[in-house]
């Protein structure tokens, strides 16, 4: 096991990783930017080190700053969390070159899965169905138009690097494609420093289902079931749950088993998530793998009782998984609500300022992963995630009933949050029937969605 871990992230995930380190009895150092000097992670930490100014490019995204901080504070491993440097294989390689361990897949594994397009081919060859898409990256507009014609509209433009909906657009006509390619290129370049794009056939009324896997260095892997992340707004997930209401028990087990078999065979290592689109007929198409701990990992922790961050650290330290598929039992139903500082009534504009009052909800099966406290000032430089409310129940209706109570109990004063849209979802007939698709909110628009719920 490591002796000391540098936590190179912020917000709720920095707190979550700190807790995992403490559970393992490993010392941790919280790396923070000037804007996060008063953050909860820094306050809870035994040791913290300022790595740069508020601008993430010079702090959380700066490989030299992060690695230098790890070295001068005597760390032997770096946990990148999610976002920032978490899936940067170049960073992982430099970390290794300095004699430190990157907590995540080893650099050579990250490199193998770095390109989404190459990964689709790799795992396609391991038996996972993939969505019809472009043959490689789009070279220029003409190539894009030809490929879109061959695949058939509508198509989805996707960046090869990164995630989170940036650089992604669905287009229905050649004219829309030409305009969107330019926007996606610049968005992808700005967000990931890589503007390569590819096309995928757009499936109408699809569901987003992902399988959580964990594979140790010895090729011993398990799946930890799936999560449904169909509730999205402009390709950004904001409510996740498990099990997915989209598939029956046999179909879920079959999907998860195919996924773990494919990634073990392709040489994956550490925790990871395979994302699938599921069409109305129940066919699952592999779209991408996330080689990091995900925002929505607690949903799986609630069902399995397995600490995924601890598992991730153990695997990175070279330890065997220590449990087998037969030891993994999925119990009950869990939902996760991303609590964002954004104004649903004004196009989800981010809201920043001082948290005048914060009260976390409680009760059976209720977990709040958040970095908020009364008096905390939300800085304007980073994403708008304030925390995640995770609610477990023995079945979906109970989990939903508990969620309504918990959302009502949650108090965040001083900022505008998206709690209202979660409450609207929990009263939406399509959602209650478990029939939500990725366009549930966008089809009608968030405003109408909220208005309909208010009536």
């Amino acid at each position: 096991m490591f002796t000391k871990i540098l936590i190179a992230n912020r917000g709720e995930i920095a707190v979550r990783i700190l807790r995992a380190c403490r559970t393992l009895g490993v010392e941790a150092v919280v790396a923070y930017s000037e804007a996060d000097r008063e953050s909860l992670a820094v306050q809870l930490a035994d040791e913290a080190i300022c790595i740069g100014p508020a601008d993430a490019k010079r702090s959380y995204l700066s490989a030299p700053a992060v690695i230098s901080a790890a070295i001068v504070s005597g760390c032997d491993a770096i946990h990148p969390g999610y976002g920032f440097l978490s899936e940067d294989e170049g960073f992982a390689e430099v970390v290794r070159a300095h004699g430190l361990t990157f907590i995540g897949p080893p650099p050579q594994v990250l490199e193998r899965f770095a390109s989404k397009e190459a990964t689709r081919r790799l795992l396609g060859a391991e038996g996972l169905a993939t969505i019809p898409g472009s043959n490689g990256m789009i070279r220029d507009d003409l190539h894009g138009l030809e490929e879109a014609e061959r695949i058939g509209y509508p198509v989805l433009i996707k960046p090869s690097a990164g995630g989170g909906g940036k650089g992604m657009r669905m287009v229905r006509t050649p004219r829309e494609l030409e305009a969107a390619l330019k926007i996606c290129r610049s968005e992808a370049r700005a967000a990931f420093g890589d503007d390569s794009l590819y096309l995928e056939k757009w499936l109408e009324d699809n569901r987003h289902v992902e399988v959580q896997v964990a594979v140790d260095r010895f090729g011993h892997g398990v799946h930890l079931g799936e999560r449904d992340c169909s509730v999205q707004r402009r390709h950004q997930k904001f409510l996740e749950e498990a099990p997915t209401p989209a598939l029956d028990e046999a179909a879920r087990a079959e999907l998860a088993e195919r996924a773990i078999k494919a990634v073990v065979s392709a040489g994956y290592e550490n925790v990871g998530t395979l994302e699938f689109l599921v069409d109305p007929a129940g066919n699952a198409y592999f779209i991408e793998i996330n080689c990091r701990i995900q925002v929505e990992h607690p949903v799986t922790e609630m069902l399995t009782g397995i600490d995924l961050v601890v598992t991730q650290i153990r695997i990175a330290a070279g330890e065997p998984l220590g449990f087998s598929q037969a030891d993994v039992t999925l119990r009950g139903h869990a939902l996760e609500f991303r609590i964002n500082a954004e104004d649903a009534e004004h196009d989800f504009r981010p809201s920043t300022g001082v948290v005048e009052r914060y009260l976390a909800p409680g009760g059976p099966g209720v977990r709040m992963d958040s970095h908020l406290f009364t008096g905390y000032e939300v800085p304007p430089f980073y994403d708008s995630l304030l925390g995640k409310l995770i609610v477990w129940g023995p079945d979906r209706p109970t989990a939903i009933a508990r969620s309504l109570v918990a959302l009502d109990e949650l108090v965040v004063e001083g900022l505008i949050t998206n709690v209202a849209i979660h409450q609207a979802l929990l009263r939406n007939e399509v959602f209650l029937a478990g029939e939500m698709t990725t366009n549930l909110v966008d089809r009608v628009g968030s405003a109408s969605f909220l208005a309909a719920a208010a009536r």
Binding site: V29, V30, E34, R37, E38, V42, Q43, A45, D46, E47, A48, I49, C50, I51, G52, P53, S59, P64, A65, I67, S68, A69, I71, V72, S73, H98, G375, Y376
Partner: protein, 174 residues
């Protein structure tokens, strides 16, 4: 006050240079050694007044606390809600441009006269030196960290004692 000729102004400048180079370092050392609150010296038409920082913290005390902080983490961090001490009108600290290992420049030592922007030290980030620059014109004062120490971004490294504007000069601009 009537405008003076060029020669008189140049003579003033030369006198200020002399003060800054010779007199101020000696006075700063004297102030530090005696524990006095304030020193005032008159020379020609100029007057120099040095006043100790209001918090009364000694330089050695600062070094100890900063070192503890980097070694043991946030223990020394101010808690949210605590107010920062007021800016010291007589000195200001040069801060670290990065997280790394601190090395002062050999030619710079306590008493050296520096101008804003002068390179006074480096912080090594993975072997690449990043320049520490003087934030203001002044005299290099007490160091807050030792050569070879680990420092974080924005950490105060060395005091720069300010050379205050003589009152006569301020009066002329009025």
């Amino acid at each position: 006050m009537p405008d003076r000729d060029e020669a008189a102004r140049l003579a003033d400048h030369a006198q200020i240079e002399g003060l800054a180079d010779d007199l101020l370092p000696a006075l700063i050392a004297k102030l530090g050694a005696t524990g006095l609150g304030e020193l005032e010296v008159h020379e020609g038409s100029w007057k120099v007044r040095l006043r100790r920082a209001a918090d009364g913290s000694s330089a050695t005390g600062r070094v100890a606390s900063r070192t503890t902080r980097v070694a043991a983490g946030h223990v020394e961090h101010p808690h949210p809600g605590s107010t920062e001490p007021p800016a010291d009108p007589y000195r200001t600290a040069a801060t670290s441009p990065a997280v790394g290992i601190y090395h002062p420049r050999p030619e710079i030592s306590s008493g050296s006269r520096v101008r804003a922007g002068d390179r006074i030290a480096t912080v090594d980030v993975l072997g690449i030196p990043q320049e520490v620059v003087a934030p203001v014109n002044g005299i290099v004062g007490a160091g807050l960290v030792e050569s070879g120490d680990a420092v974080e971004y924005g950490q105060e490294l060395v005091w720069i004692e300010l050379i205050s504007t003589p009152p006569e000069r301020a009066g002329r601009d009025a």
